[in-house]
Symmetry: C2
Amino acid sequence: MNGLGIHLLLELKECNPKLLNDLEFIRQALKDTANDVGATVVGESFHRFSPQGVTGILAIAESHISIHTWPELEYAAADIFACGSTFRPKEAAEILVAKLESRSPEIIEVQRGMTLQAIIG
Amino acid sequence: MNGLGIHLLLELKECNPKLLNDLEFIRQALKDTANDVGATVVGESFHRFSPQGVTGILAIAESHISIHTWPELEYAAADIFACGSTFRPKEAAEILVAKLESRSPEIIEVQRGMTLQAIIG
């Protein structure tokens, strides 16, 4: 079963909390992840919140990678949306898990645009 | 059951295809949706692709709204991530459905950071 895109929701638990609060680390981690899997980055938006936490979003050609971090809970909610064969989302997920040193990751996979793929497939 | 955040995945089928290919319309639609539900926008990234299609992402305080459009299929894949009570994601979803004139929307709801909420709740 294939849809127009794969959407992975990453529940990244038991991460290294120092990394989760480091805006520049998060920015570089997402960019390196995108580059490592052959994704073409077209835009970005990164923000650090007070007293803690980072939001980061990379816009990729018709796709995206986003992350929201809770350093105080050693937790990050990330998602990776990949349409077609633009890049390899599961490989990107594995890289991100490793970079954030998550010892208890869970990945939810959702196929997007399913019936539409049937129309054009 | 409450987690740290609610993540809505919007399968927006049978939209108005002209709207889906209009970068400025998509930008304004997302921004108006965010404003209407009391979300604080902290960043944005919007892109139009050739020959068609738009990607748009709004970074909101510890949350986001994203959209990827396929005008040729009258389809858009959107997602709305809202943590805590920063804004009302289901109301945002309804507004976005109406703005894009989707006649066949499906909304998938995923609770994020569930066990963590149990720890701090």
